[in-house]
Each structure stands twice: as C-alpha cells, then as structure tokens.
Amino acid sequence: MNSRVFLSLLLIGLALVLVLLPENNIKKNQLRPLEYSAGLDKLIEPMGIDQAARHLANTDSTIQCIDIRQPEAFLYCHIPGAINIPYPQLFDKNRQGYLNPTQKTNVIYANDDLQSHMAVALLKSEGYTNNKVLQGGLNAWFGQVMEAAFSGGRISARENALYENRRKAKQLFTEWNSLPDSLKNTYLETKILDEAKLDGGCE
C-alpha cells in the first residue's frame, strides 16, 4: 500500500476516535470530578443569619446578597442591596459577572436554603467558588432578625451586641423595603456616607 494512503488512513482513524470521545466539560478553574469528590468533606460554611445581619448593619461592601427567588417575591421584600437573579436564569451569560466575583463574596438566598445550596453547588462545579449560602434563607432571617424582641431581663454583653445588630438590620430592612425603587441605591450610599461621618471620615 502507498505510504501516503496508509498514513492518511491512520489520521482519519485517529480523527474518528477523537470525534467519538465524550466531550470534556472541564473549564478553567473547574475541579475535575475526583478532586470535587475529594473536597466533599471540606465544603464552604454557610453564612449565619447574625453574621449576615452584622454585615448589613455595617454596610459591608465586600458582601453581595443574591436573591434567587422569582421577581415578584423579590419585589415584595428582599435583603437591602440584594440583586435578583432568579434560579432559572442562573446560567444566563449576562449574569455570569455577578456570580463569579473576584473582590466580593456572594451570599445566595431563597425562602429557605435548599434551592440556594443547589445553586451554590452548581456554581462551584462551574469553577465559581466565591459564593455561599445564607443559612435558613429569608424565612430564617425573618424569624431571627425581623421578629427579634428584647425580653427586658438582664443580658450578657454578647447577647446585647447580637440584639443591637439585629435591631439595626431590621431597621435597615424595613426602611429599604418601604422605599420606591428609584431611591433604594441612594439610600444605601447615604448610609455608607453617614457611617464615614461618624468615624470622622471625609465627605
């Protein structure tokens, strides 16, 4: 057989094998399945409600809340500063910038944490690791923050600090969700400015 023909047949055979190979769905920064499986014992800790309340009360700009509920539920009420990315739109191309931040940590929430855990797991398998779940979701937020009440008895310094955080977060939540949409962003910026003034910062 002509050597050229033979080599061509070899190359065609190789090409066929490559075409028939299963698609490799590994992207940059993604963990391969065995590495992903090895990390199942060391998962990302969810963010507790009191921790989220503290971040909110301190207007912490390194945290970004992402609400994965439907838009109607988001409009009804949501955590101040949260952006709405409904769960079905999680992999829309124009949302990827929000879901793969480099300088912030996303705190993802829904009514409870079941769907949020699924969302974070899907994003993690895509290589987006700067996401965590709000433990208990909005139901837990309401139970712990919005319905927090001072009993009137003696409390420790730690309990007092917790209560103060919850009270500030509750106030911020109520004020924010009472505002028309056009004023919401201005309100958050004003809160950050007020904190700076109290600290003796520049305007």
Partner: protein
Amino acid sequence: MKKHSIAIGTLLFVVLMALILVTVKKGNYYRISAEAAHQVTLSSTVFVTPKTMDSLCPNPLLLLLSEVSEKDALALDSFVSLKIKPTELLSPDNKKAFNKHSGELLIYSQDKEKAANTWVLLSRMGFKKLFVFDEEGVSEFNYSFEAKGLSE
C-alpha cells in the same frame, strides 16, 4: 524511507490510542456541563419528600452520606441503602453499585450542602433518575412584611 514513515506513523497512532484509552478508562471527566445539570433541576423536581416519594421515587437505592435522623427514619427504613463516605463517592465499587441498580438513586444527608454537591457531581457524571431527600422540600415564604414610613 517508505517503511520508516509507515513505522513512525503506526507507532504514533498506537501511542495516541493508548493515551486516549487510558484517559477514557480513568473516567475523570464530566459527561454533562453544569448548565445542563441546572436544566435538569428546572425540567423536573429533584427534591423528594415523604409525600412525593411514591410518585417520584418508588424504587430507590438510598445513598446515605450521613446517619438517618429519627424523623426521617420512618420514611426511609424500608429501602435498600448504601452507606457512602462522600470522599469515596466515585470509587469503582460505588459506581458499579449505582449502575447495577435499575431504579432511582436517592441521596440522603442531614447536611443539605453535602447532598446538593453530591447531586451535582453525580448528575454531571451522567447518572440519571437522581434525587435528593428532604423532609420538607422547597419552602414558601412563611411571613408577611408590612412596608412602613421612614423613621425620623
């Protein structure tokens, strides 16, 4: 010269085929993308509660990533189960057991994060009829919120 090029070509082909076969045999790659796995969660429910168990998951192999809690034991006691260490999820023995079972695979963990991550991993590895057990399922919002005027 002719014989040389044929020999080199054949050797190259054999080496490449060997590399490809080793890679395929290892199986350390996903069958579907994360986006495709996400679509699966949209097109059908993946969370099974005691109430929906009979309709969604009548013949499951229970993958126990943790001990079964007392409140869940009643719903799950009657099923065939396999205790799995999460870090050994993709061991050859486990994969064999998953493939051998003709019914559904039902993931159970008291840690919802672990259960969700396991579902995503197995789904992306190509396993179908895969579910996560949760006593309550996805919740509605249980509170009402009243907008108020701004405080002074």
